[in-house]
């Protein structure tokens, strides 16, 4: 069957990419001059201490040995131990990732909904004032630096409507009484709203422009004229015959830009002091915490590969012409 064959092949490709990424991640961190240990600077960092540390970290072994050990521990889900707090890397990264993911998902939903709506309206009302306004707005938001959008959001929305601008949890929550699950979720959402909105606004412009142009192309197709001749009304023409075809380029774009979305998230987490993966990476860099950094890079790479895989499957589902 067409489906099974395709899924197997895509999965194989994704796994191969994961392997390449793992290897690159290993090579990259060994290719920097010096090792994690030589870069250490502290009062008690004597030669003997460093040698002991190298021994402990296995840095005195051959590259090949290190590589096999690395692969072996990865296979067991062991990403190493942090230099700074000596907890496992996974322990260090689990919470930031769980903070960032919902933010990314909500931001993507916001940007896709806004982008598709703006793009479709623009294409349908091509050349009118609303189209010009839409295109102009999309271009502006596309061009604006994310951190600047973040500042505007803080200034115009947070201060005016009383949204929290930092952190992920109200520090006073739970002091007087045990908060109910609902309060916790609501509090979480309030903290999440502005970072997600900022990221969403930063992304929507590009999506709107892509949807507009692919929708225009689709609306010029013969089957759209046929749909009109068949008696379909405007809404149904767009809904049944336009949107699915016009969405195809967007699916690919979202998957491909996932790495870029994460980069945007790092900037936003800095602006909003949002304890997500971005802040974790920044802290790890500040403290030269190589294992955490390496672990974070690896997880982010996995995420990008995973979303590309999902996009491939989605594309396959949306477009019956895809065969290989």
């Amino acid at each position: 069957m067409r489906g099974a064959d395709y899924v197997i092949r895509r999965t194989g490709a994704a796994l191969l990419t994961v392997f390449v990424a793992v290897t690159l991640n290993f090579v990259l961190f060994r290719a920097v001059p010096g090792s994690a240990v030589t870069a250490l600077r502290c009062f008690h960092c004597t030669k003997q201490f460093k040698a002991a540390l190298e021994q402990e970290l296995g840095l005195n072994q051959s590259m090949w040995q290190q590589y096999t050990i690395y692969l072996g521990s990865l296979a067991e889900g062991d990403l190493g131990t942090s230099f700074t707090d000596h907890r496992s890397v996974w322990q260090n990264l689990k919470e930031p990732i769980m903070n960032t993911l919902p933010m990314l998902v909500i931001a993507t939903v916001i940007s896709v909904v806004m982008g598709v709506a703006a793009g479709v309206v623009s294409a349908w009302r091509r050349g009118t004032r609303i189209d010009r306004l839409n295109t102009w707005a999309a271009l502006s938001f596309y061009a604006m630096p994310t951190q600047w959008i973040g500042l505007m959001v803080v200034f115009y929305i947070a201060l005016r409507f009383g949204f929290p601008v930092a952190g992920i949890r109200d520090p006073t929550l739970g002091i007087l009484e045990e908060p109910s699950t609902w309060t916790v979720i609501a509090d979480r959402l309030r903290h999440l709203a502005l970072p997600a909105l900022t990221l969403g606004i930063g992304l929507y412009g590009e999506y709107a422009l892509i949807v507009r142009s692919s929708m225009l192309e689709t609306l010029g197709e013969d089957y759209v004229l046929t749909a009109r001749a068949k008696g379909l009304k405007n809404f149904n023409i767009v809904w049944r015959h336009g949107l699915r075809n016009a969405m195809l380029p967007l699916v690919t774009l979202i998957a491909l830009s996932f790495g870029y979305i994460l980069a945007g998230a790092i900037v936003i987490e800095e602006v909003f002091s949002y304890p997500g993966i971005g802040l974790a990476v920044i802290n790890a860099i500040d403290q030269r915490d190589y294992p955490v950094l390496q672990g974070a890079f690896l997880l982010l790479t996995f995420a990008v590969i995973f979303f590309n895989f999902v996009a491939d499957l989605l594309y396959f589902k949306l477009d019956p012409r895809v065969t290989a």
Partner: protein
């Protein structure tokens, strides 16, 4: 044909396109009638307004077009009330097969569903009944019924064209407007499709307008032919009359410009180009290219009038002929 009136009657149809540089008068007063079971071939050079005319009949022109004139379907003017009076007739009474209908199907939807779509929309059939009808239509146009759930890209060009015809017949229309339905196909398939159209119009009493550049196609399939030039009708009559006794020099030149397999003499082309439609045309639009233009032609536009039984033309030569015979 029948004793009843025409199914479709177009009277003095005009279309203007609003363009950045001004207005383009694409259709300049087209009139014709069509009876049940009749097949009319609409011919003319590229850009003369064939597609625009038939799209205007069913209100499918883009927003930058304005339309004047009357289109009667069974003696009721369907353009009168704008979108609200014409919309109910789309596909239900007047269906179309488009120029390049190879792409008439949405690539991401199953052919069968797309054929059933107008039935459910116009409530002629739904659910299982619609599906039965799709299978019936597939058999009618000669496609194996087990292909209903396939996607367009799994069909060959000829099959897609058959499916497009099946889709046009979905709601049992009275009129079928076919805009160059065979241009993208090879000659063998083209012949099969034309045969199918003839057979269907005979079996179903369908009135057919066949738009084409191809005169031999008209000769083979249509009892009647209408010739357009620069947005106007220049001649309308039985195909054999137009061929043997054309009443307009353009028709005569058009027939002699058609390559003939058996004739050894080289093809004659008509020198010159059609006039621009974005400015007023004074006199006869064909006059600058006409080999028989005379005194009135540059200044007076010839009216489109009956010149013989069931034969109309717009040429001053016919007045002269009339005067001489008097």
């Amino acid at each position: 044909m029948s004793t009843r009136g025409p199914v479709l009657r177009v009277e003095d149809l005009h279309v203007w396109f609003d363009l950045p540089g001004g207005e383009l008068h694409a259709v300049q007063g087209v009139s014709f009638e069509l009876h049940a079971g009749e097949r009319l071939g609409l011919v003319g050079e590229s850009g003369c307004g064939k597609t625009t005319s038939i799209l205007a009949c069913i209100g499918l022109l883009p927003p930058n077009a304005s339309v004047a004139g009357r289109v009667y379907l069974n003696d009721r003017d369907i353009l009168e009330g704008g979108e609200s009076t014409v919309a109910p007739h789309r596909w239900k009474d007047v269906a179309m097969v488009f120029q390049g209908a190879m792409n008439a199907f949405n690539p991401v939807k199953r052919i069968g569903d797309q054929i059933a779509e107008p039935m459910e929309l116009h409530r002629t059939a739904k659910g299982r009944a619609a599906r039965t009808r799709v299978v019936e239509l597939f058999e009618m146009v000669g496609i194996a019924p087990e292909r209903v759930d396939r996607y367009p890209h799994e069909f060959s060009g000829g099959m897609r064209q058959r499916a497009a015809i099946a889709m046009a017949l979905a709601c049992n229309p009275q009129v079928l407007l076919a805009d160059e339905p065979t241009t993208a196909l090879d000659v063998m398939v083209q012949a099969q499709i034309l045969e199918l159209l003839v057979q269907l119009s005979e079996e179903l009493g369908l009135a057919l307008v066949l738009v084409t550049h191809d005169l031999p196609v008209v000769a083979q399939t249509c009892g009647r032919a209408a010739v357009m030039y620069a947005g106007r009708m220049v001649e309308d009559g039985a195909t054999t009359d137009l061929y043997h006794d054309p009443k307009h020099p353009y028709t005569r030149l058009l027939f002699s410009a058609t390559p003939d397999l058996y004739a050894q003499e080289h093809i004659v082309s008509i020198p010159g180009v059609p006039p621009r439609l974005d400015r007023d045309i004074v006199g006869c639009p064909f006059q600058p290219r006409c080999d028989r233009a005379f005194a009135p032609c540059p200044t007076i536009a010839p009216p489109f009038v009956t010149v013989a039984p069931r034969h109309a033309a717009a040429c001053h030569l016919n007045d002269v002929a009339l005067e001489r015979t008097q």
